[in-house]
Symmetry: C2
DNA sequence: TTGAAAGCGTTACCAG
DNA sequence: CTGGTAACGCTTTCAA
C-alpha cells in the first residue's frame, strides 16, 4: 500500500522547459525528436533551457503515447532453486543486457519455474504494455508456449532450437553437429565403448545432442540399441547418478560424453568413487565450458558453447523484429569450438594463466567444428 | 526508427470493459482496486466483462498516473568482460528477482562497467520514471555515487557495506568477522605463516576481509608489518599471479587465505606450478563457495557467502523503503558458514553427492561463524 | 516554423 | 454507490 508515496517529488516537465524557453511544449518535443524544420535559434534556446533545468523526458509518458515500452523481457525458465546456478543462463543474460543497452532498449528479467508461469508472466507483461517482446532461454520438445505467444502477437526470440514448422526467430549452436564432432573426436582417440550422459529428455538440446552422438556412433558401426545413455537433471548430483548408472550397466566403457559441464563434474566424482582414473581408464568430454570445466580435476575437454554470443544474437534478432525489419532467415547457427584438456588425455587447451581464451586452431589444442550445413 | 510499428494492435481498454458492463470507466477502475463501496452486483457485471474481453489494465498508463513504475533497477557494476562471470552477482540477482516478483515489482537490469556509467544509468532510469529505486552490487571505498543518488532522491539499497556516515540501506555478511574466523581456523590447524590474497583494494569487501585477517594474525602474535598480502583482479589469472608473487616473496608460507573462489582456483594452479602440494605443503581457504570451490582440486574449504540471500534481503529493504516503511536499522548482517574440505586437510564438508548443501554443524565438517556483534 | 488541442489509458477528486 | 472530469507528461495532427 501507499506505493506512490515514495517521494517522487514534482519533477521538471516539458512544460517547465517550454515556459523557460518561451516556446510551446510541442516545440520542445520537436527539438527532442530532432525535427529538422525547427529554426536553429529556437532549437538553441530550448537546448539551453533543457540544460538549465536538467530536464529528462518522462519515459513512461513517452511509452504511453508511443505504445512501446522499449523494454525487452528476459525469461529465466528454470526451477527456482537453480535459476542462475547455470552459468549458461547468466552468460546469455549478460549478452542480452549488453546488446539491449547498446540499442536503447531496457531489459526486464523474470524467473519462471514452470512452463505455465513462463507463459503467464510473458503474456501479462506484454498485455500490460511493460515489454515489447521477450527472449526465451529454453526450447522444449512439445512446447505450446510459443504458439500461445504467437496467438497474442507477442514478438519473441528463442535461445535454442524450437521444434515445429512455424516461423520463429532463434539462435543456437548446431547441437547435432557439435555432439557428432565431439563423439568423433573420442572415436578418433580410439574409444569404441562410449557412454552418453544428458539432461532431461524433454529439452530439444538434449535430443539434438543425443542424435549427434548416435549418428557418429552408428557411422562408426556401433549397434544403435547398445548405446549406453543415462539422463538426469542439470546438476552435479544428476551427473553423479547418471555416471554411476552407466558404470553399473556397462562397466567396460572407456569414454563418457556428458552434455553439460555441471553434470560432468558430478560424473568425475562418480568415476573417482568407482575407482576409475580419468583419462587413463575413462576419457570424459563435456559441453558448455563454463569456468567449472577448466577448474575441474582433471580439467575437462569441452565443446565450448558461445553462451554470451547466443544471448547477444537473440537480442539482436528480437530488436530487428521489433523495429520492423524481420531478419531473414530468422535463425542463426553459431559455430562452437572444442577445447581439449586433460580429461581426454590431451594437452591443456588453455593459455597458461586464463582458461577459455584460446581461439580455434591455436596450438593444436582447440579444434574448430565446421559450421553445419543448413 | 519506426519502433512503434511493431504491431501492437488496438488493445482492449478500460473503456471497452466499461461499455460492455454498462458502467463508467471509474467504476471498472474501482472494481480493479477492490474498492469496498462498490455494489456486489455491479462488481460482478464488471468482472464478467473483464473475463469476456480478456482485459488487462495497461501498466504504463497506471505508472504514469501513479508516478510509480513498480520497477526496481539492478545494477551490475562489473567490467563488461566479466559481468556475470562472477557467480556472486548471478546468485544475488536470482535472489533479487525472486523477491521482487513476489512483491509485485519488476526487475530491470543494467550493466555498468564504470562508476560513471553506473551513476548515469541509475539516474537516467530514475529521472525517466522507469525505475523507482535501485540495487547496487558493489561498495567502493571512496564512493561519491551514493551521495549523487541521495541528492536526486533516488532510493537505493546496497549489497555490501558502504562507508560513510550517511544513513544507507544495505545488506552484508560480516566480512571482518568472517575473515577473522577463517584465519583463526587456519591458526588452529597450526599454521603461522599465512599469506593473504585479495581482490582490488578499492572495494570495501577487500578492506574488511583484510582487516579480519590482520586482527586474527595480530592477536596470534604476528608482526603486522610482515603479513604477506597480494591483490589482483577477481579472476583466475589474478589469483594465479597473486599466489605466484606471495610464493616468491615468502617461500615459507604454509597457508593461504584467498578472498574469492575464482581467484583461489588460480592460486591452486600457481601452487601446483610451484610444486607445492595442497594441503600437505600449503593449506588453502577461500571465500564465496560457488560451485567452483567444490569442483576444484583439491576441493576448497570456503567461507560460504549467502549470495542469494544477500540479493533477496537487499530487495526487501528497498521495497520497504519504496512503500514508505523505512526499516530500522537500515542494514542487515547475514551469518556465514565455513565449509571445510580437502584444501585445508579436512574431511569433505559435502554430502556425498551434492556440494554445498550441508548446514552448519552437520557432521563436524561445517562450522557456524557466530554472528558479529553490531 | 510554431502553437493549440486532442489524445495515449489510467486514476482520483468532486458531485450527486 | 456511481459518473463526470481533470489530471499524469508526452507526441502528433491540424491550423496558422
Amino acid at each position: 500500500m501507499n506505493r506512490q508515496a515514495a517521494g517522487r517529488n514534482m519533477r521538471i516537465t516539458i512544460k517547465d522547459v517550454a515556459q523557460m524557453a518561451g516556446v510551446s511544449p510541442s516545440t520542445v518535443s520537436r527539438v527532442l525528436a530532432k525535427d529538422p524544420r525547427i529554426s536553429p535559434v529556437t532549437a538553441e534556446k530550448v537546448r539551453q533551457a533543457i540544460q538549465a533545468t536538467h530536464y529528462h523526458p518522462n519515459g513512461i509518458a513517452r511509452s504511453l503515447v508511443r505504445k512501446a515500452s522499449l523494454t525487452i523481457g528476459f525469461s529465466v525458465a528454470q526451477p527456482a532453486d537453480q535459476a542462475f546456478a547455470s552459468p549458461f543462463v547468466a552468460e546469455a543474460l549478460r549478452g542480452a543486457a549488453t546488446v539491449a543497452q547498446r540499442n536503447g532498449y531496457y531489459l526486464m528479467i523474470f524467473t519462471a519455474p514452470t512452463l505455465a508461469e513462463e507463459r503467464h508472466h510473458s503474456l501479462t507483461l506484454y498485455r500490460e504494455g511493460r515489454i515489447d517482446g521477450v527472449i526465451l532461454t529454453t526450447a522444449r520438445v512439445h512446447d505450446t508456449l510459443l504458439d500461445d505467444l504467437r496467438k497474442e502477437g507477442l514478438p519473441f526470440a528463442v535461445i535454442g532450437r524450437p521444434t515445429g514448422r512455424q516461423v520463429t526467430y532463434w539462435v543456437n549452436n548446431d547441437n547435432v553437429g557439435d555432439a557428432k564432432a565431439a563423439t568423433e573426436h573420442l572415436l578418433r582417440l580410439g574409444h569404441r565403448r562410449i557412454g552418453l550422459i544428458t539432461g532431461p529428455r524433454q529439452f530439444v538440446v538434449t535430443q539434438d545432442r543425443t542424435r549427434g552422438f548416435r549418428l557418429a556412433m552408428e557411422e562408426a558401426g556401433a549397434s544403435p540399441r547398445l548405446l549406453p545413455h543415462a539422463a538426469g537433471p542439470f546438476t552435479e548430483q544428476g551427473g553423479y547418478q547418471a555416471a554411476a548408472e552407466i558404470i553399473r550397466r556397462q562397466p567396460d566403457i572407456t569414454a563418457l560424453l556428458v552434455t553439460d559441464d555441471v553434470m560432468a563434474v558430478g560424473a568425475l566424482r562418480a568415476l573417482a568413487d568407482a575407482g576409475r582414473r580419468v583419462p587413463e581408464d575413462v576419457a570424459v568430454m563435456c559441453f558448455n565450458d563454463s569456468p567449472l570445466a577448466s577448474a575441474a580435476h582433471p580439467p575437462l575437454s569441452a565443446v565450448r558453447i558461445p553462451m554470451y554470443e547466443l544471448g547477444a544474437r537473440a537480442t539482436e534478432l528480437l530488436i530487428a523484429v521489433l523495429e520492423g525489419h524481420p531478419p531473414w532467415p530468422g535463425h542463426i547457427l553459431l559455430p562452437a569450438d572444442m577445447v581439449l584438456r586433460a580429461s581426454t588425455g590431451e594437452p591443456a587447451g588453455d593459455a597458461p594463466a586464463t582458461a577459455g581464451t584460446v581461439t580455434a586452431g591455436a596450438a593444436g589444442s582447440t579444434a574448430k567444428i565446421p559450421e553445419a550445413a543448413r
